[in-house]
Amino acid sequence: MKRYVDVYKQCMYSAIQTAAAYRMNFIVSSLITLIGNILFPLVTVLIYRAGTSFPGWSLFEVLLIQSIFTMSSGLSSLVFGGVLWTTMSHVREGSFEVILLKPLNPLFYIVATTFSTESAGLFLGGAALFIFSVMQVGAISALSWLQFTGMFLAGTAVLAGLALMMAAMSFKWVGNSRISELADSVLHVGKYPLPIFPKAVQAVATMIIPVGMVGFLPASALLGRVQASDFAAVLPCFVFMGAGIWIYRHMIRLYEGVGG
């Protein structure tokens, strides 16, 4: 266990060093990721500016959903963001065994070596928008904060699971650099108040691919709008992440040539 912590620390250190080696590039690419990701609330702002709204949601309440979504994405891609690209290039170049040659869990090794420093900017940008929105929506109770924290972690787990599933897909769909678009499109549902969607979509977004947990449900918790039944949706989130881990490891086993 201590060895795993040591390895992770060393990897974070290397990632920061790499970022420092290309300072300008790092700053520019962080800024662009940041701007690209905080611009999607622009659509929301323009909609409200035109004098209309998502029924039952004020502008700042919707921005709250979207800021939480951004923070969650930032956190998840900080840790899991590089897994897809690294897996893809290893599979394409046939060099995945470099990972298998280390006396570590291969999934852990990939996650550790792909620590994505540039996502820190994304997380911080989301956090800034979050603080701004929270200040506009009125008092929030301690219990709500607690519920929010739990749901926020569950939402981040969903993103991690999705990242791993996409990476697992790249074992089979060799060299398809558009795989990440699949995840992005599904996540799009999580950026808006879930009740605007029909019941079937809502069910999928809470129980099967629980993207509702990425922005909507944690925001609802902060606004005191969750019901007891909503907490049941936390479970599928961790199941989803577990599924991501399982599928990825299954793909490694197939790569090794077991049962394939």
């Binding site: 040591d6 390895v7 060393q10 990897c11 080696a21 280390k102 006396p103 040539g257 077991v258």
Partner: protein, 335 residues
């Protein structure tokens, strides 16, 4: 004592046929034709501790698949591998601590930061204690002469410097077996010599076993005690280096670019054979160095013709394999 024991090793891949035309494009969305590829076919061998064994074969012969299985990265389809008492793929996490690997074309160093940081990463990964790490690093840097190199970012290093660092990376945890895949590919002569010298020393001092795959016959001549040749997934040769030389004869390929036309001149004789003659000015000859030394041969040629360029090379590996096939039909030469 044999450290590597391979019995009836076989690996079969399944891939899919890709269509080209419009119709096939549509069809392949739904149904794909399976093709099974026999990458390694019933190979057996054993390797003793302290041996340096060269594995040769043309591209796509199956040698890298075999190495991947020996390293534990791939499971065999059938057959058995035992290395140091482990089954490589099944006991991989424990097994890989005892081996090191250097891949000429797959860097294990982190590109943008100095090698020393990659070394520290391996220290954490293999759980090497700080005093052990420092001693070992000191020893390796002295041997490879890279003291000033380790602190520079990897991307600014020359290929030779980088390869040396790859070796440090692979050797820090004191592996018992070292796998080398094309370790000298693309290197200049001086770096090649240095790296071969390093491998020899590690082998001698620590009785470290080495498995070496390469295209470069020179690597094998310089290092290997023993040679295994694989072609089309099958083992076609497995014997000592001396024996291989007997098969090959001592042959080299010499290419000339002449200053004047040599049209009509006959070059074939008892010790040379024309391989290629693309123009009146260029020719590639195969020279049997058992009968005539290279220097004597060049002297002979230069007395008759003036040339502007010359290169001397080992036989290409495809030629070696072909020679072995041909000789195999005849009774074996005796040592």
């Amino acid at each position: 004592m044999s450290v590597i024991d391979v019995k009836h090793l076989t690996k079969t891949y399944t891939t899919y046929k890709r269509g080209a035309g419009m119709g096939q494009t549509f069809r392949s969305f739904f149904r794909r034709e399976e093709i099974s590829v026999q990458a390694v076919n019933d190979i057996s061998f054993a390797i003793e501790q302290g041996e340096i064994c060269g594995m040769l074969g043309p591209n796509g012969a199956g040698k890298s698949t075999a190495i991947k299985m020996l390293c534990g990265a791939l499971y065999p389809t059938s057959g058995e591998i035992e290395v140091l008492g482990y089954s490589p793929a099944r006991d991989r996490k424990h097994y890989v601590r005892t081996i090191g690997a250097v891949f000429g074309q797959k860097s294990q160093l982190i590109w943008d930061i100095p090698p020393i940081d990659s070394f520290k990463m391996n220290k954490a990964i293999y759980g090497i204690s700080t005093p052990d790490f420092n001693n070992r690093l000191e020893e390796l840097t002295a041997l490879l002469d890279i003291a000033g190199v380790m602190e520079k970012p990897t991307r600014v290093l020359s290929l030779g410097e980088r390869m040396k660092c790859e070796f440090v990376m692979a050797m820090l945890h004191q592996p018992e077996i070292l796998f080398l895949d094309e370790p000298t590919i693309g290197l200049d002569v001086i770096a090649k010599v240095k790296i071969r010298e390093f491998i020899r020393q590690m082998n001698k001092k620590q009785n470290m076993t080495c498995i070496l795959t390469t295209h470069d016959l020179e690597d094998v001549e310089e290092l290997a005690h023993r040679v295994i040749i694989i072609n089309h997934g099958e083992k076609v040769f497995d014997d000592s280096l001396q024996r291989l030389k007997l098969f090959l004869g001592e042959k080299k390929r010499v290419s000339f670019t002449f200053a004047e036309s040599v049209q009509g001149t006959v070059f074939d004789n008892a010790c040379t054979r024309v391989v290629e003659r693309p123009s009146d000015f260029q020719i590639t000859l195969e020279v049997d160095t058992a009968q005539i030394s290279i220097s004597e041969f060049i002297e002979n040629i230069s007395r008759k013709h003036s040339f502007s360029d010359i290169s001397v090379k080992e036989l290409p590996i495809q030629q070696v394999v072909m020679n072995i096939y041909e000789t195999k039909k005849q009774p074996e030469p005796s040592l």
